[in-house]
């Protein structure tokens, strides 16, 4: 799946807020630093696509998470 430039920019901006001292393992693709992930998103590689899907899932899940947490409180 290809994503719009707006989505790519959104994901890149969100990734920029990630500290530089962490690495993310995404499935079989290996480990990536923040800057590597941003580059993968820019180049529209499978890793970049996976990073975008992760961000979009996170955003989509937020209303459900907020509801579940408010119900538990």
């Amino acid at each position: 799946m290809t994503h719009s430039d707006d989505v790519k920019e959104l994901v890149k901006l969100r990734l920029m807020s990630t500290p530089s001292n962490i690495k993310v393992s995404i499935g079989n693709y290996g480990e990536f630093s923040r800057d590597q992930l941003i580059e993968e998103v820019e180049k529209e590689t499978p890793v970049g696509e996976a990073a975008i899907e992760m961000e979009l899932l996170f955003i989509r899940k937020m209303p459900t998470l907020a509801k579940r947490i408010s119900e538990q409180r």
């Binding site: 807020s17 990630t18 500290p19 001292n21 962490i22 690495k23 993310v24 393992s25 995404i26 499935g27 079989n28 693709y29 290996g30 480990e31 630093s33 996976a50 992760m54 961000e55 899932l57 996170f58 899940k61 998470l65 579940r68 947490i69 538990q72």
Partner: protein
């Protein structure tokens, strides 16, 4: 005779090293229930070794740790170790595959066509997050701890007597507890752990009998 469980642990890159180390709480939980844990570790994680152990030891539960895709669980050096041709080996077994995507097709086929009692796994990539400015000591890595504790709720729940569905629910509960904690945390890096927990929790699924238990 003690109940036998088979633990398969790759250990050749950072994420499989985390899998290896984070299987230790499972061993402790199983042994505390007087189960016999047989391990296939590191270089031994090959197609022939796994098949041989399953045939010889007849474990009721098989816990696979490594890389995967929709049709294959990979062994040492990313060589196929369990694939679509191995269905008969898994007849009557409960399986938890901590590997990317294996539940999507491999697990579904094993359960639906080869009477695997239940195949629990991930239908999406498994994600880990770790700090790089510390030596890799997985069980001392507090950043990634919630990711692994949520995942471990499945096999630990099973050896403690939960059903397949109950052990998955235990994992969801642990995930949500950690999500709530992280959402109210001031740690900027923790947001990445949150994303990993959400992706892993979303991908956690099973095929087969949800009421199945380890005997």
């Amino acid at each position: 005779m003690p109940t036998r469980v088979l633990l398969v642990r790759n250990d050749y890159d950072p994420i499989t090293h985390y899998m290896y180390e984070w299987s230790i709480p499972f061993i402790e939980a199983a042994e505390s229930k007087n189960m016999k844990v047989d391990c296939v570790d590191g270089l031994s994680v090959t197609k022939s070794e796994i098949a041989s152990r399953i045939v010889k030891l007849k474990p009721v539960f098989i816990f696979l740790n490594g890389h995967g895709d929709r049709q294959t669980f990979y062994g040492h050096g990313n060589k196929p170790a369990v694939d679509m041709s191995d269905g008969k080996l898994f007849t009557g077994k409960i399986v938890f595959s901590r590997a990317c995507d294996c539940a999507a097709e491999l697990g579904k086929t094993f359960a639906e066509e080869h009477a695997c009692k239940a195949f629990i796994g991930y239908s999406m990539p498994f994600v880990n997050v770790r700090e790089t400015n510390v030596e890799i000591k997985p069980r001392q890595d507090n950043m990634s701890r919630p990711i692994w504790e949520a995942s471990n709720s499945v096999p630990v729940g099973l050896v403690k007597g939960l059903t397949v569905e109950e052990s998955i629910e235990a994992s969801h509960k642990k995930a949500y507890k950690e999500i709530e904690r992280i959402l109210f945390s001031s740690d900027v890096g923790a947001i990445n752990v949150l994303k990993a927990i959400i992706v892993n929790d979303e991908g956690l699924t099973y095929h087969g009998d949800g009421t199945a238990k380890i005997a």
